[in-house]
Amino acid sequence: MVNGAPAPSPAGSRGFTLIEVVVCLALFGTFLLIITMLTREMNGYEKRLPVNFMAHPQVGAALSRLRRDVLDSTNYPDTYDAYSQGPKTLILVAVQPSGYTENIVWDFTVPNEVRRRAYSVGNMTSEWVAHGVPSFMVKDFEIEAHPDSVRIQAYDKTGGLAVDQIFQPRRHGQ
């Protein structure tokens, strides 16, 4: 045997021919191509949809409580305590089952947190905090010339509108 030359194959063994390797690669390549096309199409469509915040139980709980508060509300004071009405703060006066009213402040100023504070006769009677929620924004909303509705929205990190809910108070005393 010459130094540096490949060792001779044992009797009866051989490698693949070029045709065999090409056929195998072509078949497997076709398979990989189909998989790639499938996943690309899937991911492309997924990117069109915003994050499903509504699947988060804390988001559902916050929106349910907010809907109830707006439904029971009688008016929206401009200020209360240290809070002022704005896109990150909602202040409302809501009728309670007892018949008395409570001042309720919804504070969305802390990122990924929702804080609901209820005040009765100047004293805070309850505080509820939801964590891990998107950054909500509050707007006043007019329906049929009645500007007493509330619109709450939340965008995901890519700017997709994920939450958009309109709440309006029920009529009181009618």
């Binding site: 044992p10 009797a11 009866g12 063994s13 051989r14 490698g15 693949f16 065999e20 056929v23 195998c24 078949l27 497997f28 398979f31 998989i35 499938l38 996943t39 899937m42 469509y45 997924e46 069109r48 949809l49 915003p50 499903n52 509504m54 699947a55 329906i143 049929e144 009645h146 509705s149 997709g160 509108l161 939450v163 958009d164 809910q165 309109i166 709440f167 309006q168 029920r170 009529r171 009618q174």
Partner: protein, 128 residues
């Protein structure tokens, strides 16, 4: 001892088994993702339906039939479902009662979400 490589049939058979395993796993994953997407689409659609219902509840009973047959409320949340169609039908079910049905169709009508509500004529004030 006799040594030999794999034959083409052996390699193809091994690849076939591998392809079946990968395809099955991928199909399960794709199906799960598709269902999650459908759930997200439905949630977006029902938010728009809920908003439209709030607006339609505020319209005077006498004006319900004259209101637009498309959605009046802002449907920006439906942007990911484009192209989509919205329509509203008002049917008289009983005297002084109207059935307002709001429908959203997307994916060329393959998917839809609908919400119906009954409005009653309360004699001047809206029923909330």
């Amino acid at each position: 001892m006799r040594q030999r490589g794999f034959t083409l049939i052996e390699v193809l058979f091994a690849l076939l088994i591998l392809a079946i395993v990968i395809t099955t796993t991928l199909l399960v994953f794709v199906d799960r993702t598709r269902r999650l997407q459908q759930a997200t689409e439905t949630i977006l659609a029902y938010q728009a339906l809920s908003n439209e219902a709030e607006v339609r509840r505020r319209i005077d009973f006498s004006q319900l039939d004259n209101a637009s047959i498309s959605f009046i409320s802002d449907t920006k949340i439906l942007t990911p479902l484009q192209p989509y169609q919205t329509y509203v039908t008002v049917a008289d079910t009983q005297p002084n009662l109207k059935n307002v049905t709001m429908v959203i169709r997307w994916k060329n009508g393959q998917r839809s979400a609908r919400l119906s509500m009954i409005r009653a004529d309360t004699g001047g004030t809206n029923l909330w």
